[in-house]
Symmetry: C2
Subunit: 211 residues, 2 copies
C-alpha cells in the first residue's frame, strides 16, 4: 500500500472493546461503523487468549474486508500473522519493531504507540508505518493509557516524524478537527464508537473532520 492510500485508511481507526460494546454487541457496532465508512478497525482484546483472538479475527476479517477497510490486531503479532490480518499495533511492551519488520510479509502494516518524540523517531527508523500518539485528551475508558500529553505533546511528535501520526485519547468529533489541524493524519477512538448509541452516526461525524 502506498503512503497516500495508507493515510486515507488511517483517517479513523476504531479500536474494539467487547465489554464497552455490550449494549449493542461488538459485531453490530463494527457493522454500523464499517457501513458509515470507518476505514480501519483495531481488534483489541487484552483478556482474550490467542485462540479466542484468532477466532474473533476469523469472524470479523471478511466483514472488514468487504467494506474495503483494514483490520489491525493489537499487541499480538502471532494472531495477526496466523489470521492474515492487515497489520499489528504494538507498544513498548511488545516485540521490537525491527524484529517484527524482519518477519512480516511485504505489505504488512506496523503501528506503534508512543508519546515521546525520540521514541517516535526511532520507531520510524525501525520500520513503523504509523504512530498512535496520546493520550491527547483525558479519557475514562482506558485508565492505564498513560499521561495526558495535550495538543502540545501531540505536536511535538507530529513535527518529529514523517510517517502518519494518529491521535488517540478522548477524541470527539469537535476535537478531531483540532488534532487534524495540528497535523495528525488520523484519529483512533475506542469509547466514542464502542459506547455510542448510534455508532454509525458517530463515525460519520468523526470522519467529517477530514473533509
Amino acid at each position: 500500500m502506498n503512503q497516500t492510500d495508507l493515510v486515507r485508511q488511517l483517517a479513523l481507526v476504531v479500536i474494539t472493546d467487547e465489554r464497552l460494546s455490550e449494549p449493542l454487541g461488538l459485531d453490530n457496532v463494527l457493522l454500523q461503523a464499517l457501513k458509515s465508512g470507518a476505514p480501519a478497525i483495531q481488534l483489541r482484546a487484552k483478556e482474550a487468549t490467542a485462540r479466542e483472538m484468532s477466532a474473533m479475527v476469523r469472524v470479523f476479517l471478511p466483514m472488514v474486508r468487504s467494506f474495503g477497510a483494514l483490520l489491525f490486531v493489537n499487541d499480538r503479532l502471532d494472531v495477526a500473522l496466523a489470521t492474515g490480518a492487515d497489520g499489528v499495533h504494538l507498544g513498548p511492551e511488545d516485540l521490537p519493531i525491527k524484529k517484527v519488520r524482519s518477519v512480516v510479509p511485504p505489505n504488512f502494516i506496523i503501528g506503534y504507540s508512543t508519546d515521546d518524540p525520540k521514541e517516535a523517531i526511532r520507531a520510524e527508523k525501525d520500520g513503523a508505518d504509523y504512530l498512535g500518539v496520546g493520550t491527547v485528551y483525558p479519557t475514562i475508558n482506558k485508565p492505564n493509557a498513560g499521561e495526558v500529553i495535550g495538543l502540545s505533546g501531540l505536536k511535538s511528535v507530529v513535527e518529529s516524524v514523517s510517517i502518519p501520526v494518529i491521535a488517540i485519547g478522548g477524541i470527539t468529533p469537535k476535537r478531531a478537527t483540532e488534532v487534524v489541524g495540528l497535523g495528525a493524519r488520523g484519529i483512533a477512538v475506542m469509547g466514542a464508537v464502542m459506547t455510542a448509541p448510534d455508532p454509525g452516526e458517530t463515525v460519520r461525524k468523526l470522519l467529517s473532520a477530514f473533509r
Copy 2:
C-alpha cells in the same frame, strides 16, 4: 530436521521458570543443564511481556545453539518467529496448529500439549511435530497443569499417534525409565532441573533413562 534427529533432541526438554531457578539464577541453571547434555530448552515465562521474552531469547539463544541444543518458546509464536527460535510449544488456548504451520518457516518445530488421544490425533494431522503429554505424575510446581493422567493416560496417547510423545509432570530420573519404557520418546521437566542444587547432575541422571 529429520524425525530421527528430532527424536534425539527431544529426549529431554528443560522448561524454564525464572522464579524457581532463583537460588542459582536461570542463566546458571541453563548453562549447567546444557553442559550436561540437555538437548532442548523451552523458554516459559507466563508473566513476561513479549518484549521481555524476546530479550530473554536474545540472551539464551546463542548459548543454547553453542551446545547444539534447540530453543522452543512457550505459547508465543510471535516471540519465536521474531527471535529466530527453533520452535514454539502451544496449548489449547494458543493459536490453532494448522494456522501456525501455515505461517512458519519450513523447519520450524511445533509442539502441542494435550492429554486427550482424540486431540492428539488431530494435532498430528494439523502439523504438530511432537506432543507434550501429562500431567503423568503429581507435581507441585505447576498446580494448574491439569489432571494427573498417570501411565495409562500417557499410554493411550502414545498408542494414538506416530509423532514423538514427550511425557511431562513429576518426572524424576527413576520415572523417566518408566515413561520411556511405555513408549514416550522424551521427557519434559521444569521443577526437577530448575530447583536442583546441581542441575547438571540432574540432567545427566534424567538422560541416562535413554541409554
